[in-house]
Amino acid sequence: MSSAPFSKLLVANRGEIAVRIMRACRELDIRSVALYSDVDRNALHVRHADEAYPCGPAPARESYLNIDRILEVAKECGAAAIHPGYGFLAENAEFAERCAKAGVIFVGPKPDTIQSMGDKVIARQMMAKANVPIVPGTTEKLSDDEAIKFAKEIGFPVMVKATAGGGGKGMRLVRAESELEQSIKRARSEAKASFGDDAIYVEKFVEEPRHIEIQILGDQHGNAIHLFERECSIQRRHQKVIEEAPANRMTPELRAKMGDAAVAAAKAVGYEGAGTCEFLVDKHNDFYFLEMNTRVQVEHPVTEMITNVDIVKTGIRIAAGEEIGFGQDDVSISGWAIEARIYAEDPEHNFRPSPGEVSVYRPPGGPGVRNDSGVYPGAEVTVFYDPMISKLVCWGRDRPEAIGRMKRALHEFVVKGIKTSIPFHRVVMNHPKFLEGKYDTGFIEQEILGSKDVPLLNDKDELKVGVMLAAIATYRRDTARASRGSSNTSGEQSRWKTVGRARQMRGGSL
């Protein structure tokens, strides 16, 4: 093991990813520095840090996005590097540049990599140039004739989309040439009505799309490798909910082709650090570049578990100028890993947020279970930030064992005081299509959310137990209240009770 790459690193983030980065720091003998907003003094990431500095009021824009304040802290504490985690400033090219100007190492790719990969049009052009497959289509507006000609060229089905579009407006799926003219007309009029602009373009429609991404690593010495794929098709409102590695229905050929494409993409932009190439894979196993995430990914642990590579530590070493340290041939896939994102939200009531104090917290343990948590017993979940409180990751020799462990771990996981998505994950882990591994990005909408609220696995036995427990708990509460209420009859008695209480303090925690 080499010596610590830096002496001190500032983590410009909060929650589980800040804890994850601080864990890497401690293993690397780097002092870690936390930032905390006004509502985060008691947050877990502060307790994992060696140093901590306030960074502003609760709203992220005034604290975790406050570049001036963050660089001020970096200077004050003498941090050699800043790790942005994901979200917040992680893909902000200006921040990366400001770090460079301030003489602080930004743990991530060069500012211009962030910049160009953050612009969908430029990213698309660069990838096309590097022979990375992209969804065939234009991004510029087309006349009716041009659109028809282009659609025939790329083949049906196609999507007709408004250039000013969004939220499904001015979007038309066209399955055959015969429908095309009519669809263009409708898309134009919808687009006109919605955006005041009837410009449209045409794109290949990806059938039964699966979201599969490739983890990449690049260093300052021109090395670039990939760490295989993750499947992230279990999404709700384009938010990933469950991820696995490797992907279902993957073939060695497709894996090799996608890996090569991702490494080509990394080399095309001179990628430094840990990043991800996101692809759509259709039902014919054709794949198309979606975007490049120029940061560590929420779901990086599933890759860590099947490759035994510590992605966060490697990213920090790379930022310090070290080489990746191993080659493509040194990594292989071992077993299967699944991640369930645990959110502080109520799946029974349309996933509404559920802030509050975590009163009881008993994370699962035992073989093959990893828990990357952002909370602890007594922590407060606020409404200001992402509601993800934990990532539960399970590994098995094969997918059935990984699923068995995930079911077991979800059963063990006790969180009280707030509602969580744990019951929702139980539903997915028992769903036949999930068990078969045959799902695409429409899984949650089509298979789980047929009704507005999630049908949890409530069974009759547990209902009866619940009814009895509710009555017992009410009885106990009322009895406890009554005995408290009846004890305040005289000042004398109260005084002695107080003395008694003071005595009980002995042997307790202060």
């Binding site: 029974e348 009881v360 008993r362 017993p377 059963h411 006790v414 009280k416 005081g417 509602k419 019951p423 139980r426 949890l456 696995l457 409530n458 069974d459 547990e462 209902l463 009866k464 137990v465 619940g466 009814v467 009895m468 427990l469 509710a470 009555a471 017992i472 708990a473 009410t474 009885y475 509460r477 009322d478 009895t479 209240r481 009554a482 005995s483 209420g485 009846s486």
Partner: protein, 179 residues
């Protein structure tokens, strides 16, 4: 103690008999009583043993007084009301027209009178806090109206059916016109 537990449209009548030591005999809807060993420390959730089957469960009271109950993989939303409280509140649910004599449903002590003669009250507004069987219960007005009589004072001990106060409906709703 008997409770009414409501789950959606289903109502269960549950009798809890405290055997002591965290053991309860519980009867649901007059079926055979079930013995439940309910273990809990302040720092954790319940462990229930029912006929040797083990369930972990938790009960959280929401701001609206309803209960969030988790058992195993299931989550439920219950309303629980005890029969004493139900009796105390029954005036509000059974008689809803005309002049209201608010009577004590069981012996108890008046903790607080929340209204005075002449005061307008709304349906469901608290009018008296009464302590019965060591529990405080807020008695609510069954109707919108005006308090026309207060028959008790704070600290009074009252028997079953003692008149507590009288609420008249508003002028335009009185059945036989102005009195």
């Amino acid at each position: 103690m008997r409770y009414e537990v409501t789950h959606g449209k289903d109502v269960f009548s549950v009798d809890v008999h405290d055997v002591g030591g965290g053991i309860y005999d519980v009867t649901v809807d007059e079926e055979t009583p079930v013995r439940i060993d309910a273990a809990k420390s302040p720092r954790t959730v319940y462990s229930l043993l029912i006929d040797s089957k083990q369930f972990e469960g938790s009960v959280d009271e929401r701001d609206d007084g309803r209960l969030d109950v988790h058992v195993g993989s299931s989550a439920f939303d219950f309303e629980v009301i005890d029969e004493r409280r139900k009796a105390l509140l029954s005036a509000a649910t059974t008689v809803v027209q005309g002049k209201q004599d608010i009577l004590a449903q069981m012996p108890g002590k008046i903790v607080k009178v929340l209204v005075e003669v002449g005061q307008e009250v709304s349906a469901d507004e608290g009018v008296i806090v009464m302590e019965a069987m060591k529990m405080e219960n807020e008695i609510k007005s069954p109707i919108d109206g005006v308090v026309t009589e207060v028959s008790v004072a704070e600290g009074d001990a009252v028997e079953t059916d003692a008149k507590l106060l009288v609420i008249d409906p508003p002028f335009n709703q009185r059945p036989f016109g102005p009195s």
